[in-house]
């Protein structure tokens, strides 16, 4: 393998990429739309239930129920009409309202259940409605001097770093995933390039020059990795992804770019025409995208998701960009990613090499 020959083929491929309208369109769309979607997403998480309360003589117990909780904010209002108006107004941002009768304590003490009105807006989730009805009961029981039999609400045990007030927003969650989707698109771009070379047999023309099959394969690897890495890095820069752990992210993007290049070489080897390449690439991409979707949901990914080739890539990006993880924290994921990258690259090299040899 000679660097001068490889770089000549790389130059030819890059010129072809520039001349490919499809590639340029996909690239242009990615560079515009991914950052646009990112910056349009909400950057904060609203984790407080704001509840309007109309009551007289229950200040102490209402305060006792809501004090110390970041998840519940009580807004005192003078009467039911004002509460209803506030609930229907977007400015007040209330999810529900509770109207306690003036004679609540007297009625309840006399054994007659008092009527409490729970006013909700149409988009309140059922569990919130249930919880607020329970809250009304709790307020009444506290007003009657019946403390809760346990201190569940006031003293929960928090496991792990408490992120209340500092939750990861949807925008931050999507930051690593956008870089991932850009890389996935590149699988298709390289597969198209490889398939076109195979279909038009330009590869045989290249191989009658002093270039060897190894030069050709190395050039494809370099082009695919360079193009995928550059695009993903540009996207990451446009969405502020390098703010923390930039060296880890650069290594991860490089490994990810090499991974999708290997996969693209395999998909391109099987492509008979444009439609087959498109179909093969999408078939390959669907399982590879599962770790990315899985990362959007809380908790640990299922064991089978953790063995997918892209899991290490997605997980490293997520941990570094959202939790500020360091080298030691992500070493296992990086090793997994490196292993899969090596396997995909060798696979791509062997399969594409055999395909070229049959031409």
């Amino acid at each position: 393998m000679r660097p001068a020959v490889v770089s000549t083929i790389v130059g030819k491929d890059l010129r072809e990429f520039r001349a490919d309208r499809f590639f340029l369109l996909i690239t242009g769309l990615s560079l515009v739309f991914y950052p646009l979607i990112f910056w349009l997403l909400p950057s904060t998480v609203d984790e407080t239930l704001r509840v309007g309360v109309v009551q007289r003589g229950l200040d102490r117990v209402v305060a006792a129920v809501s004090d110390g909780s970041d998840g519940l904010a009580v807004v005192e209002l003078s009467d039911q009409a004002t509460l209803e108006e506030a609930l229907l107004s977007a400015d007040a941002d209330l999810v529900a309202g509770l109207v306690f009768p003036d004679d609540l304590v007297a009625d309840a003490a006399a054994g007659a259940p008092a009527q409490v009105s729970l006013l909700i807006t149409a988009d309140v989730a059922p569990e919130v409605e249930t919880a607020l009805a329970a809250l009304a009961n709790e307020v009444a029981l506290l007003a009657l001097g019946e403390p809760p039999p346990t201190n569940l609400l006031s003293e929960p045990v928090v496991l792990g770093e408490d992120q209340v007030g500092d939750q990861v927003s949807l925008r931050e969650q999507l930051r690593p995933l956008l870089a991932f989707f850009v890389l996935m698109t590149e699988t298709f771009a390289l597969a198209t390039l490889v398939a076109a070379e195979v279909q038009t047999r330009t590869v045989t023309a290249v191989l009658v020059t002093p270039a060897t099959r190894a030069d050709f394969l190395a050039a494809k690897g370099v082009v695919g990795t360079a193009v995928a890495f550059t695009e993903a890095a540009v996207i990451m820069a446009l969405i502020g992804g390098f703010a923390t752990g930039a060296p880890i992210l650069v290594v991860t993007l490089l490994l990810g770019a090499a991974l999708v290049t290997g996969i693209g070489m395999v998909a391109g080897s099987f492509g008979r025409d444009f439609m087959t390449v498109l179909f093969t690439s999408i078939l390959v991409m669907i399982p590879l995208m599962i770790p990315a979707f899985s990362a959007l949901f809380p908790g640990t990914a299922a064991a089978w998701v953790q063995v997918l080739p892209t899991y290490g890539f997605v997980q490293t990006l997520v941990e570094v960009t959202t939790a500020g993880a360091g080298w030691a924290d992500v070493s296992a994921e990086l090793m997994l990613l490196a292993g899969w990258t090596l396997a995909a690259f060798i696979g791509g090299w062997v399969i594409l090499g055999r395909r070229v040899a049959t031409l």
């Binding site: 490919d20 998840g71 039999p149 346990t150 609400l153 792990g160 770093e161 939750q167 498109l278 809380p298």
Partner: protein, 356 residues
């Protein structure tokens, strides 16, 4: 134009079509999207509160919690495993109920219950789980509810779950892939393989080829639209009216597909064009998904006139007579596209003749 000849083209495409990857897309992708949207994206936009419970004594608290809509209760065996899972945010909270909890509470003793919450759980979720659990604890302690809570819902009952708001997206995908992409890719593929030249030296005319290919797209668009609506339980009380709008949507998309397919010089150009023009097709879906956007803008896009009636009839309960204007616009668009299809067909015929 001979309808019988167009039928031959349709029969050929039906016979050979399944060999094409596009055909597989038409059949598989709406099903995949239905699954993804109902199983994945619904939970993504409105995640349920997740509570793990280790119950060593068949407590009534567990039974009460399991009956609460919107709280997903998972029973675990090991308190240590539960704590680890809560810390990893596999659950928002964990509750350990040792044997004899109900008896202890009923006898008035202070229960030693611990609610473990994940550091990553939302504060509001903690409140919901905490208060709901406390109500179960109160009930186990035989505390009589001192109030009756009367629930009143304010404002228009027009809130629609995200899964329902995504229905036009799935229907659009089913109709567009089948109606637009199938005839378009079929035209391009026939040209690339030069089988169109072979067809045109038989008595079959270009107009018959176009009608045959459009018919396949329309049939599959309606079929996949039906399947999609059935899978999403969205037929409601207006199945015939929905079928009519699916049919018109299929015709509209097939006409656009024929125009694009006759114009594009190869698959690459076709795909680029479809991707570039996707915004025009998808735009009305965005307005359904985000109701706060100015809805009149959606009416500027042709696909609105078959997607919106289907959505309204399926989700908001409108009837056919509410959509007569949409129907008229839909028919007008379909008729307006006929000369364009005809012109592109003639142009293609001339180009083919010039290259023979």
């Amino acid at each position: 134009m001979n309808v019988r000849q167009a039928g031959h083209v349709l029969a050929k495409d039906l016979r050979l079509g399944p060999r094409s990857p596009v055909f597989l897309w038409v059949l598989a992708l709406p099903l995949v999207f239905t699954f993804l949207i109902s199983a994945v994206f619904g939970d993504l936009f409105a995640p349920p509160a997740r509570l793990a419970v280790v119950d060593e004594g068949a407590s009534s608290i567990t039974t009460a919690l399991q009956g609460v809509e919107g709280i997903e209760v998972t029973l675990l065996d090991d308190p240590a495993a539960m704590a680890a899972a809560v810390e990893a945010h596999d659950y928002d909270a964990g509750l350990y109920l040792p044997a004899g909890t109900d008896e202890a509470l009923a006898s008035g003793r202070q229960g030693e219950l611990e609610l473990l919450v994940s550091g990553q759980s939302l504060a509001s979720t903690r409140v919901v789980i905490g208060v709901t659990t406390l109500e179960g604890v109160r009930a186990a302690a035989n505390a009589r509810p001192p109030v009756e809570v009367q629930v009143t819902t304010l404002g228009e009952q027009n809130w629609t779950p995200v899964e329902d708001r995504l229905l036009p997206f799935i229907v659009m995908y089913a109709v567009v892939i089948a109606g637009l992409f199938l005839p378009a890719s079929s035209m391009v593929e026939e040209r690339e393989r030069r089988t169109l030249d072979a067809v045109l030296i038989t008595p079959v005319k270009m107009s018959e080829v176009l009608v045959g290919k459009a018919a396949l797209g329309v049939v599959l668009a309606v079929l996949m639209g039906w399947v999609t609506l059935a899978l999403n339980d969205a037929f409601g009380s207006q199945p015939l009216a929905m079928t009519l709008f699916l049919l018109l949507g299929g015709v509209m998309m097939a006409e656009v597909g024929l125009v694009v397919g006759s114009w594009a010089k190869d698959s690459n150009t076709l795909f680029t064009t479809v991707k570039g023009g996707a915004l025009l097709v998808v735009a009305p879906v965005l307005f359904t998904l985000f109701p706060s956007l100015p809805q009149w803008v959606a009416q500027l896009f042709p696909t609105y006139y078959f997607l919106q009636p289907i959505y309204d009839m399926a989700v908001t309960g409108t009837v056919f007579t509410d959509h007569v204007r949409d129907l008229a616009v839909c028919i007008a668009i379909c008729l307006a596209l006929v000369p364009a299809v005809s012109a592109m067909g003639r142009r293609l015929e001339q180009r083919l003749a010039a290259t023979v």
